[in-house]
Symmetry: C2
DNA sequence: GTTAGCACTCATTTCTTTCGAGTGCTAATA
DNA sequence: TATTAGCACTCGAAAGAAATGAGTGCTAAC
């Protein structure tokens, strides 16, 4: 009796039978919707696996041994462990394809968001939160930013506008007000010089040496050069700093696992304080890949009993980012992953300059987990 | 026996005696910190009004009759009613002046926020929330926005940048990419024309007629004119639309009155959905005035059992706005009003162009309520 | 290998009881 | 006439006790 041999042991390694898989999947599926421990009887009835509750009880007991499930207390049903979710996400989960209607719905909403003004990423974060009913986060970062072009607009003797165009075609400007007078010729000269020596370089290359030599070359005794250089650095730095948006934190309160205000508050303030979600420094993952971090797989203490689902996008011009949600470990990974993946793909295209909406290709969904088992 | 004559009647109108005022104030003060009904004994001990608990009980009973206090149940202490708070705010409250250290602390933090990039108002909202530990809101609106200056930067035959400077010296830009080629001369010409006929006017004055005549005058067959005009309108419109920021919603969960997740959620999502806080269309109030809306005085159903404290600022150039917090009716009106007032004054100065920090004038605090009793 | 049956466990719900803070009233006091 | 000590009374909240029932593990029969 190979099965009973495992009884009483600590997390036995054994091949998981087909039936066990089915049962585990059924447990997770059920738990996702009810948030209550699921019992053998309910399983026997609902999930159509032709066997009685007693049999299922045996299987459940073994799944507990194997570490996929756990019991809150002796006389309760089973609840998936992090390992159980991992297995579910990696192998068992039936990958959700969005229906055509859903795709269209999503598309039109995405469209609407993107067409409006500037704040693309934060807007999409908002959208993600709405669609999933979980707090959403969006992160975007640029790798190597450089300036493509300088213009300095002479407004009056004491005022000018610096306009700077970056290599990804975003344009930034700043109005500068000086206590001293500048003549238009100087402004022209500076503009030329900056275009000559400050374009195509990253912020670390803007050194005091460079600034000094420019200043001398332009014969600038007023310190204009350093003002402009400072702005250039500021723009480059702010563009290179990854920005994170968290929206819809309050939706956490919808979830039964956050009924405790303290627990909810802890997580919410962690989120809005901009605490890191992914291991800092870790790369963003391949584009169009969805990653799932389940409970203890998260590094941040505050997230250890929540899950994170993120999809990465890549605008092609060096702008990469993530869009994701945070919620209880019990989340509908499948649907959420689909939706996020969709949004990420939409972002990739849209930011990348292409104007076409994400097409009806329901969606290719690549879900990847945190493979490194221990960390 | 004038006092006992009121016994048993419905909300009797009578002059409120000095001692009653003192007691009422003490009740509110105490309730603000404990959030628990306050009883006669505690009052007799703490607040130094030389009389026994029995006397106080009599007074309390009358204050209940007069509508300033209420009892959650027969054997509990007293809790201020909205009317009680109103009275407290209007007459009884001992107006808090910020200490010098506090002023300096606030100043340096405000300074820091304002000196950093663009997002002044949202940043100050964040600051307000931090300082008060309540959700904060900031609203800013401009009355009459006009464009002061147009510049069009020729990038290449298909690309140019529109730079627009508003009458309050903010600068906006947009990169335009065209499918057809434009020559530099045309760009120059358009720039001149726009400066001639589109400056100093509001968005409603940008009519199709005006656009058409400009287009004809510039001999523009490519539709450039309308692109630029559209951008101008967009900028004007977006600038004129009052923008609201709500930050720190999660701090609501600190408050015992929002321990119920549903209640908290209701309010939080109302706040982050951008629901109006002040009666829509109502003017923002005089500058440097702090307004308090207590419980039922709010018009939004969702706010009927919360209070709102807002201070208004005025940058002088037509930019006006509010900065405020939302919380339980039991809030420390006095301190919060001081802090908000401080921030508002800081904003007024800073946005108004003056560079000096708010000085050590601890602060003049004008608190005004919702005087119209019924609405 | 599966399943019906049954005793057992234990969180949850419901009902009681206890406890005490706080009241209102009365009668004595200043 | 205003204040106060004293006391019975009220009623929510906390603590304890009992009932409930979902779900289990195990055994023995199929």
């Amino acid at each position: 009796m190979p099965a009973s041999a495992s009884r009483g042991c600590e997390r036995v390694q054994m091949e998981i039978s087909e039936r066990k898989k089915k049962i585990l999947a059924a447990v997770v599926d059920e738990y996702i919707v009810t948030a209550e421990p699921v019992g053998s009887k309910a399983l026997a009835e609902k999930a159509g696996l032709g066997c009685s509750s007693a049999t299922i009880r045996n299987e459940l007991a073994e799944l507990v041994n194997m570490g996929y499930l756990e019991q809150p207390h002796t006389s309760a049903g089973r609840v998936p462990t992090a390992l159980g979710y991992r297995m579910y996400v990696n192998e068992l989960m039936q990958k959700q394809k969005l229906s055509l209607e859903e795709t269209e719905e999503l598309n039109s909403r995405l469209e609407k968001r993107l067409s409006e003004l500037d704040n693309t990423i934060s807007d999409v974060s908002r959208l993600a939160s709405q669609l999933t009913n979980y707090p959403a986060l969006a992160l975007s970062s640029r790798s190597q930013v450089t300036i493509k072009r300088f213009d300095i607009i002479y407004v009056d003797a004491n005022t000018f506008i610096i306009v700077v165009m970056l290599d990804n075609n975003t344009v930034r400007n700043k109005l500068v007000h000086l206590p001293v007078s500048v003549d238009e010729g100087m402004v022209k000269k500076l503009s030329t010089m900056f275009n000559a020596s400050f374009t195509g370089i990253s912020d670390s290359q803007i050194t005091p040496v460079l600034i000094n030599s420019t200043e001398r070359a332009a014969d600038d005794s007023l310190g204009l050069t350093s003002v402009i250089a400072a702005f250039a650095m500021e723009v480059l730095a702010s563009e290179a700093t990854p920005s994170t948006y968290v929206t819809g934190e309050n939706r956490l309160l919808n979830q039964p696992e956050y009924r405790d205000p303290d627990k909810a508050h802890r997580l919410m303030s962690y989120l809005s304080s901009g605490g890191y979600i992914l291991p800092p420094g870790e790369d963003l993952g391949d584009t169009n890949e969805v990653r799932v971090l389940i409970g203890p797989e998260n590094i941040a203490e505050e997230l250890k009993d929540s899950s994170v689902i993120v999809a990465s996008y890549d605008a092609g011009d060096g702008t990469k980012g993530l869009i994701g949600v945070v919620g209880p470990t019990r989340m509908d990974y499948s649907v959420i992953a689909s939706k996020l993946s969709f949004l990420a793909q939409g972002l990739s295209r849209r930011l990348g300059g292409g104007e076409a909406p994400v097409e009806g290709m329901h969606n290719k969904l690549i879900i990847k987990g945190d493979d490194s088992d221990k960390r």
